[in-house]
Symmetry: C2
Subunit: 192 residues, 2 copies
């Protein structure tokens, strides 16, 4: 099982060991991770990496969605608690589940959408706010909004080789997503 | 009350009176509507026009969402049938409704999102498919997927002057959206 977080996801620790000034190294000249000057660049990198797991209605794409939950349930079984009725699902159960076929498409699509909208702050923030609204009922640990991206990059690594530049882009992307999610939780008067 | 459609929205008739070859005139040299060579151009135009009705959490933006439903319920009251419990709502009822404050943000956001994703066919189609999935329970007349854009451009005209170029871009955008929505309805074995 992967270590998910002790409130702070593992990649933050890893990153801070290498560079104390910035998780994305945008201010750092001491490490070899590419500098990422702006959101367009981050968007470009994360969208490109998502080509390894497209959504769609044909079998290959449906499998991408199932594969995300197979990865998550196999490596982070503690997160199954948020999926009522599937708290004890194995990856094999996910594979056979129509629910997780649909849910798999939904979560992959959400990541694709938010990546596509990343260069439009109004839409990016609006989509995150709406995603938080829809998840309100699940009473999630707020740390999971950031931790999701650790899970997602882990999943992506089952589909392709994820470069250091891509990992840095996803880390920054997750940070931006998380900032808006937590801001919105605070706005709603919820734990954040 | 606006005339919504006799199966075929009014703008199709208007368009076909002016140009028999293409609703968006992309092949037409006989009319004065700007040619729109590609999806990037359409995306650019519709996104720019959406600046007149941003989403967001402050009062001005929340009002944009309410205003959409006030416009729709005021001008197309026959569509209220799809909003259980609000079948007899007036625009004034919408203004006072927390439900339509939230719903207004959701529908505006959906239009912003789908516009932002228009240059990525996988995400664009995926988002439309998921939107159709979520609306399955309402048993909508399938003609409404296209007609929505007539309503939306009418709403946009309450916020800004919508140019002929913008109207043509929205018409093409609606056509593309509708094609995928109807394809997905067929895929689901539903009326289309």
């Amino acid at each position: 099982m992967y270590r998910l977080y002790n409130r702070v996801p593992a990649w933050v620790h890893q990153s801070s060991r290498r560079c104390s000034r910035s998780q994305v190294h945008s201010l750092c000249s001491d490490c070899n991770i590419a500098k990422m000057p702006d959101l367009m660049k981050i968007k470009q990198i994360v969208r490109k990496s998502l080509e390894a797991c497209p959504v769609g209605t044909d079998e290959e794409n449906l499998q991408n969605g199932r594969d995300f939950y197979k990865f998550m349930f196999g490596n982070y079984p503690q997160l199954r608690v948020y999926f009522k009725g599937a708290e004890n699902y194995t990856p094999e159960d996910v594979q056979k589940s129509e629910r997780f076929q649909k849910q798999g498409q939904r979560i992959l699509l959400a990541v694709h959408v938010v990546a596509s909208c990343a260069d439009d702050p109004i839409v990016f923030k609006g989509y995150i706010q709406e995603t938080v609204n829809r998840h309100r009922q699940y009473k999630m640990d707020p740390a999971l909004w950031l931790a999701f991206f650790t899970v997602f990059v882990g999943f992506l690594e089952t589909k392709k080789t994820v470069t250091e530049e891509e990992k840095a882009a996803w880390a920054e992307f997750g940070k931006l997503f998380n900032e808006e999610a937590l801001t919105h939780l605070a706005r709603l008067g919820l734990p954040h």
